[in-house]
Amino acid sequence: MNAIVRVDHLAKRFGKTPVLADVSFELPAHGVTVLLGANGEGKSTLLRLLLGLLKADAGSLEVLGLDPLKQPRALREQVAYVPDAPDNPAWMTPAELFHFLRPQYPLWRHERALALAKDWDVPLERPFKHLSRGQAARAMLAAALAQSPKLLLLDECFSGLDPVARRDLLGAFLGELAREEVATLLVTHDLDVAARVAERVLVLADGKILHQGSLDEVLKVDEEAARVQSRLLGLLERAQQKEVAA
């Protein structure tokens, strides 16, 4: 496999709490890979490790052939990240965000950002603090795609949307994604989202990648898989219940 990400026996703990125990996987240079796992399993931590925002306690990782900690700038110019909720200054408008990001990414396509914003009905001059969650997520996705990234990391950015908005955004996003040559790692605990976009699935539980392969392979009914599926569905259901309750 022509891997764009190589993770080998990665471990990370916060204080005395182990989050990732022994994570190993590779990511192909194209296509959408979904990282499935319940809340608190370390999915976001894994993404932050890939971006060089955290230091691993053990193991090694390589993204685009680069060490995220030693070559952060080169890496971040080629990797786009969309968090579960916008973390840029709330006073910024999407237009200001694009304006701010433009000189920082060598391959930035400003026209594309504006076009995506227009297509996805993002109010360009309204501050993020006054945007709906869906509008903010679309603005962030537009900014991410405008960077012309080789790797797109999406951290639960479709969660928290109402079903209709989620369906529309997913559709629009997948349409745009088809036009890009980009590898995507989507973190979610939403099996429905995973089913719609995943070409490949990684299941993260107990600090390890328990299973990887196509969604069908992972969910294949055999004795082992049934146990996995049952556990996975249980975890996902619990997470969704929490989300609904929230």
Binding site: F14, R48, L51, L53, L54, K55, P72, R73, R76, E77, Y81, P83, D87, N88, P89, A90, W91, M92, E96, F100, L101, P103, Q104, Y105
Partner: protein, 562 residues
């Protein structure tokens, strides 16, 4: 647009609202307070200084203290994951901090002066007293000194006001040498001052930079504080080192060094013990360090410091404590607070008197005088073993008394003699040529200056005053090395040389001293103990040979408490 300008734009957008609010609020507040204050206060430099300082403080709380810490609480992860990371944001934050602080200072001064002018006249404000201006500068200076450290500590303080408090603590704590030394009479050179201020500012800058960039990689607040604060401590290390060196230098006593001045020195009669009072003088200390008292064993060459600040010395055998004459045959060193009394010859502690201190008994010829219980001068005649009070002897205040084997000589408006047994006195016209008596010799002759400035001897047996052969016009003649035990020889000095006077025949002979020699004691064998620039020296006054007793560079000076 460059990255720097981009981040500058971001900071401007974030602080814009606060700046506008301050621009409206500050004049209103200053005007409200300024017009309520008494006119005298509102037109003073104190008012202007306080307004300027408070403007700086206010801007620090609202903006300066939030520049670094605000991101940590909001969008640090966003800034961090941008290609240039957190470090790209720092220069713009620093510039905004400097600009807003400078603007606050300018606005505060302008507002203060304006209100002062409106209340009665800035132009009428008196800057005649330089301290007014110093007061203004000091008030503003303290606020400005805290500012960079408030900026630095804001990287790890939860809120702006806390950053201000932490910055003040760090600036005062770590910058203590810079703040304290000038107030302890240290006068820094321009280079030292520039270096100190540079370190102070550079420390804040480094601490701010490290504290801000330490927020990366999900660092905890404690870790950020340790790295930011720790780097600040390191930046201050040279400043502390410099301060400690200065204080150590001030406290050190280096005998023989050009900066060391020996103010008083005494040598015991046997030449075995010396006690000196010395202090260092430095150009960069406005006031001299405290004087130190050293007890030096001239035979072994070692020394110890006596813990007697500002000592007073009482000469050999003439010290008197309340209730009677001292039993000690050598001299006594006494602290001003009367708590510590030493026999300087043996180094032994003496019991301090219960009331009052030791007083040196002034010589009255070959007798002594001291203050009696009723604080009336009492004269002791050793030849008759008789004591008389001043009034009893008919001695007026200001009159000098010389007690010898031939009776008492009293110098007032003129000379007269007094018989203590009969209580009668008569004029002594033959003593008139002796214009300025110095000392009484062992045989009762009186030595002093004659009217023409030459040295003379008054002999009671011949009732004549005769000049001392060989003595020059000696307006500056002083008698060194006289003591009650050895009155047959005197060491004299005039502006040209030192002499020894054979008191038995009145002849002078020159002593081979060189400039810088300080004769301290004539020993029983006739040798002199000198203090020279290199240490204590024994001089054979006849042969002129010198024998080192204790060299300064060999004296092992130990800080020993007795």
């Amino acid at each position: 647009m460059s990255t720097f300008r981009l981040y500058l734009w971001k900071e401007w957008r974030e602080q814009r609202a606060a700046l506008v609010a301050l621009a409206i609020l500050l004049p209103v507040l200053v005007a409200l307070v300024g017009f309520q204050l008494p006119r005298g206060l509102a037109t003073s430099t104190t008012f202007v200084g306080v307004v300027a300082a408070l403007s700086v403080v206010l801007v620090l709380i609202v903006i300066g203290g939030e520049l670094l810490g605000g991101d940590r609480r909001r969008e640090v992860s966003w800034l961090e994951r941008l290609p240039r990371g957190l470090s790209a944001a720092f220069p713009a934050k620093l510039l905004v901090f400097v600009a807003t602080t400078a603007m606050a200072l300018a606005a505060g001064l302008t507002l203060g002066f304006t209100v002062a002018e409106l209340r009665g006249g800035f132009l009428g404000m008196s800057f005649q007293a330089e301290r007014d201006l110093e007061h203004l500068l000091l008030t503003v200076g303290y606020a400005l000194a805290v500012a960079p450290w408030a900026f630095a500590t804001s990287a790890w303080c939860p809120r702006g006001p806390l950053a201000l408090a932490a910055g003040a603590l760090v600036a005062c704590g770590l910058g203590l040498p810079l703040l304290v030394l000038p107030f302890t009479a240290y006068v820094p050179t321009a280079v030292e001052l520039a270096l100190g201020v540079t370190l102070f500012l550079a420390g804040a800058l480094v601490s701010a930079w490290i504290g801000f960039t330490a927020q990366a990689h999900g660092a905890s607040l404690r870790s950020i504080a340790l790295r930011g604060g720790g780097s600040g401590c390191l930046a201050f290390a040279p400043l502390w080192g410099w301060g400690l060196v200065q204080l150590h230098e001030r406290d050190a006593l280096e005998l023989g060094a050009p900066e060391c001045e020996i103010e008083h020195a005494w040598v015991s009669r046997d030449g075995r013990v010396a006690v000196i009072e010395a202090r260092m003088h430095f150009d960069h200390w406005a006031s001299s360090p405290r004087s130190r008292t050293l007890w030096i064993d001239l035979e072994r060459g070692d020394a110890r410091e006596l813990p007697i600040p500002n000592p007073s010395f009482h000469a050999a055998g003439s010290a008197r404590k309340p209730g009677g004459l001292s039993e000690y045959t050598e001299f006594i060193i006494e602290g001003l607070d009367d708590t510590l009394v030493l026999d300087a010859c043996t180094g032994q502690h003496l019991e301090p008197p219960s009331t009052g201190g030791y007083t040196e008994v002034s010589s009255a010829g070959l007798g002594v005088s001291y203050w009696g219980e009723d604080y009336e001068a009492v004269y002791h005649d050793p030849f008759l073993d008789l004591e008389l009070g001043r009034a009893e002897a008919g001695i007026a205040l200001g009159e000098a008394v010389w007690i010898g084997p031939e009776g008492w000589w009293i110098e007032g408006d003129g000379w007269r003699t007094f018989d203590p047994r009969s209580g009668t006195s008569e004029p002594a016209e033959w003593l008139v040529p002796l214009a300025l008596p110095f000392d009484m010799l062992a045989d009762g002759r009186l030595i002093g200056l004659l009217g023409d400035g030459s040295l003379g001897l008054a002999d009671p047996r011949t009732r004549a005053v005769t000049p001392v052969l060989g003595a020059r016009s000696a307006a500056d003649v002083e008698i060194l090395a006289s003591d009650l035990q050895s009155r047959d020889e005197r060491i004299l000095a005039d502006e040209r040389a030192h002499y020894r006077l054979d008191a038995t025949c009145g002849e002078l002979s020159e002593i081979p001293l060189v400039p810088g020699d300080w004769p301290l004691r004539r020993l029983d064998d006739g040798d002199l103990v000198l203090l020279t620039s290199e240490g204590f020296v024994r001089l054979d006054a006849e042969e002129g040979t010198r024998t080192p007793l204790a060299r300064f560079d060999a004296i092992r000076h130990a800080e020993v408490t007795p």
